[in-house]
Symmetry: C2
């Protein structure tokens, strides 16, 4: 409480350092078919390539940008006011929603009317929105009727990485080169169109999580025929953390590339923490409602009831939560299957439900009331993230009977959700050795009719606590390649403690690596442009460009400066590995210049002849093209 009060006293501005644009970058917007479809990108400007003749321009590179208005120029963010309601007009013109007088959940009303909570409460007077009676406001519902929403068009522009200035023919030869991918069933089109987005959503292969009560969010899509997405978790716990820290972690996480954020709070003031996060989040927010429901019954799992849970769903849906993790696949008969495991049940939600089922000897209310949950979700467009409550917590337990039994049930629930036009993705493990990762992915596609898969890692070994961002980053990259749509990050503190801001950043960057590696391997159109632009900068010793094209320019620059701190080294045509005396890149440039001069890129015989003829000349040149800086 003390910390929160302190936070509110401080005018609720975000940390300046955290919101300025990344180095060498500026926010640009690409306009769609109407002026209010303005899709944000980060434009990285590049310096020209020095040649013996005229400088060769390198076109700026546009990259996907999750950071929202925080990195826009002249932004004056006031966390008390929240972000602008980007999607408000789109929602309203569909004319299928209405404002409520206030929260309709019992708990939401109680919190709103508790004068003790005033100092914690978000400033804005906000009225929740809900579907008009009989209406279904999900993007899946629209998609199935053949409607391309502004959200879908926004996404089509956003996913289209090729939108950017073109360079010279030689630059384009390099930047445009892309290895054909191996999709494992992914069908990536040459051009991602609004109609393609609609089709994928309609087929259930992709979801657009955007609650009508979270109009601040910039639309994004989760599906295996799009860019692989990543999620970052935050949330206070009984042990530590404050609202201030959680909002701070959210803005920090999206700065480095989190596509969605899950608020997993289990401690004090969950309701108010969530309100602060949603109002200030340009990305979808997911939650695990059972966590809060458990708090409401004082942590006693067996005291949970459908009524408490239902009220929690409505409370959160009216705040604007974009997707709910629901562990409805933990069936009573699956629980004993975990008894002989090395690590039993490791999902919090799964263990809560297992305990409830055992205690009452009944199927859980999540399962028995699943259609009613669908009814709630379709009034707000909350997507399902069907939780894997029986996921393995060790490689020993990977792909076992309990896990697969639950996955089949999640597949059955998917069909029920689709009957209601509610969007669904499926959560996956966890801990899986490399050779079992593909089997897990394939079974998910089979059992769940290609609904998007959303996995935590998986960790491919258990022997490296302190490095589980890496053990899991390996599995994440692989399962992304095999078809997983979103990867839930893991930080270095996994299994050990709560992540701080550094850990959050490390987790995000590791997962951006995994997701991008998967995009390359799948052959997402133009994913390789960024690699090629960076490699070209590296080869040409454009150090600043190399830093700025990377996922973390600050760390790259810092590492470089540790060995060669002088500013002049940033334009040096050598690096600290070999030093100025000898450099492979330099020699390679000489080879290239030599070949170019002599036209040595025709057939092999001509090449050899040309080389022979020119060898003497080369000897006479002396060959030191390197210019001391």
């Amino acid at each position: 409480m003390a910390k929160t009060a302190h936070f509110l006293a401080e005018s609720a501005r975000v940390d300046e350092a955290a919101v300025q644009a990344l180095p060498g970058s500026r926010k640009v917007y690409v306009e769609g078919s109407r002026p209010d479809i303005r899709v944000p990108f980060r434009e990285i400007s590049l310096s020209p390539t020095k040649t013996s003749g005229a400088d060769e321009q390198n076109p700026p590179l546009l990259v996907y940008d999750t950071s929202g208005p925080y990195t826009a120029p002249d932004t004056d963010i006031d966390l008390r006011k929240g972000l602008p309601e980007l999607r408000r007009a789109w929602i309203e013109e569909r004319d299928d929603t209405e404002f409520l007088d206030g929260p309709t959940s019992e708990y939401g009303q109680r919190r709103a009317n508790d004068p003790m909570l005033a100092p914690l409460r978000f400033d804005l007077t906000r009225t929740p929105r809900r579907a008009k009676p009989g209406k279904n406001v999900t993007q899946l519902h629209y998609a199935r009727q053949g409607i391309i929403t502004p959200e879908m068009e926004f996404i089509a522009i956003r996913e289209n990485q090729r939108r950017q200035a073109l360079g010279t023919e030689e630059v384009e030869r390099i930047l445009g080169h892309q290895h054909p991918g191996e999709g494992f069933g992914a069908r990536l089109p040459e051009e991602i169109t609004p109609e393609f987005v609609r089709q994928e959503v309609a087929a259930g292969r992709a979801i657009i999580p955007n609650n009508i009560n979270h109009p601040e969010s910039e639309p994004m899509i989760i599906g295996r025929n799009f860019l692989v997405k990543i999620n970052g978790n935050l949330g206070n716990s009984a042990v530590t953390s404050s609202i201030e820290e959680e909002v701070d972690k959210m803005t920090w996480g999206i700065r480095w590339g989190a596509d969605t954020i899950m608020d997993l709070s289990t401690g004090q003031n969950i309701h108010e923490t969530r309100e602060w996060i949603i109002r200030n989040a340009p990305v979808p927010i997911g939650t695990v409602p059972i966590y809060q429901a458990l708090e409401k019954v004082n942590g006693v799992a067996e005291d949970l009831t459908w009524e408490v849970f239902r009220d929690t769903l409505i409370e959160q849906a009216e705040q604007g939560v974009d997707y709910f993790t629901i562990h409805a696949g933990v069936l009573l008969r699956y629980v004993p299957l975990t008894a002989k495991r090395v690590t039993g049940i490791v999902s919090r939600g799964g263990s809560i439900m297992a305990k409830w089922c055992l205690f009452h000897h009944r199927e859980s209310f999540l399962y028995t009331h699943f259609e009613e949950i669908c009814e709630i979700c379709k009034q707000y467009d909350v997507a399902f993230s069907l939780g894997d409550g029986l996921r393995p917590g060790s490689v020993a337990d990977a792909n076992d009977e309990a896990q697969m039994a639950e996955l089949k049930t999640l597949g059955e629930l998917t069909k029920i959700a689709w009957k209601h036009d509610v969007q669904v993705m499926i959560e996956g493990p966890g801990h899986v050795p490399m050779h079992l990762v593909k089997e897990n992915m394939d079974k998910q596609l089979e059992y769940c009719d290609e609904a998007p898969f959303y996995t935590l890692g998986p960790l491919v070994t258990d022997i490296a606590p302190g490095y589980d961002h890496i053990t899991s980053g390996i599995g994440a990259a692989m399962i992304g390649w095999y078809g997983c749509a979103m990867l839930c990050y893991v930080t270095p503190k996994e299994h050990l403690g709560l992540p701080n801001k550094d850990d959050v950043k490390t987790g995000i960057i590791t997962y951006k690596i995994a997701a991008h590696a998967a995009d390359l391997a799948k052959g997402h159109p133009a994913a390789q442009r960024r690699d090629n632009a960076l490699s070209k900068a590296r080869f040409e010793f454009r150090w600043e460009d190399q830093f700025n094209l990377g996922l973390d320019p600050d760390t790259a620059r810092e590492y470089h400066d540790e060995t060669l701190p002088k500013d002049s080294a940033k334009v040096a045509h050598f690096c600290s590995m070999c030093g100025p005396k000898f450099c492979s890149m330099k020699i390679s440039q000489e080879v290239r210049d030599y070949a170019k001069d002599k036209g040595l890129d025709g057939d092999q015989e001509a090449v050899m002849k040309g080389m022979e003829e020119q060898a003497e000349k080369f000897r006479q040149q002396g060959a030191e093209l390197y210019q001391e800086v």
Copy 2:
């Protein structure tokens, strides 16, 4: 020079903190068929599992140990004296070698006789050893004659991870559980015997790098039907670093698990630096002799000659280098194939040879004198690491014509080396997107007749400078699974600067993760025991055991203590993620206890019946088994 003098003044002791045993561990030796075959292991002792009845003992776990005598109890290491000559008797009893009067290389003699170098020189008066005239002293030569050397027996014991105390039946059920691997052609036996080691070496599928002039080394094997190995690089450069730092990096690297060390020095006093490293290294040392040869001709590649190179090979072979990287596959006609690449030639050795070939318009002396190089290697048992001078430096250039052309030539050279009974492994890239990794591995096996593959990463994307231990760790784990025998580490400073000790450790741990993940996926017998032991400790909240079973106990403990610093938290039956109020592991334990009590592990019907009968009892129990600590 100043730094080196300082080093020598300080009695040349290693840093105490760096050589003590890892927490909870002690060095143990397993004896072979003769008393001087004593194979080192690290024994991690574990605390008992608390149960409602008597404590259940957890047997100690033996793990592979690369750290040599440094972590042995009561070790008094004096770097000036070097390590004991473990293999001396084995070499001598074969009676096929003889001592030389001194270095036979011209350069070695010059350095030995230069009074100016006295302060830099290693203390020990050492006489190099060489094969008697007409003798071949390679392990491959012995293996092909059916001889099982002590080195081979040593290795068989070392690779056998199952040698350890056994626990109770329940503990063994958990520790012994192993997912059958997918070997991609790897043929892992249930038990690794000395005869199996011999067969693999004889077939050329594995190598034992141990120069007769490096008797200090503990034998190890590199081959895809054994544990995946990792290499750590060190070496001074023209820009920075001293002998002291390099020796320090070596002892640091093997502490964390480097199986071999490559000394890539390019700066001052390469000869003396190497001597210090070899005399103190319990692991094989590799070099790239062309680096030093280039220094001898003042960095002018075109001035390199066969004579200078040959003298360098003999100089280094007589110091005890265990494997040579030789870029003999860079043929003149392949050089123009790199001209249109995004990143040209990025291998230092490759670019040196390319420049030489272009300048002289001839095939390199490495290629034309390859049989003479074999003649040298077989007199000392130096193994080849045939360098990939044309490896791709970006994902754009992966698996291209230049790379594959060179790989085929390396295959031809392999056959020549084998004709001389010289051991060979093949170096590989580099930068390769995930979906091309397997193709690269498969081509290597095909072109090089299953000689072991030794790759740098590969990096699966280029967009994360500062995190290339991770981008490459992903590719390393995958190629290890597909059959790569050794993985050359990459540190976070790759492409940016020279690694410091922290970077070396991070690189090593990342690569131990990749190698172990590969061992699991391949199904190396008993590799999963360590995962299972750690997961069991995690499930039972044996925090200290969880830390100590990990690859980096220090970091795990530090991370844990950041959130829950009190000592009592180390025995707490909860962790900081959920706090004491609710804990999934705790509930899971309750489920397990419940199932066990009721005998719920029979068939499904009985289970359901049992559960129903007992549900009321469970409700009455209250179920809070958790004991406050």
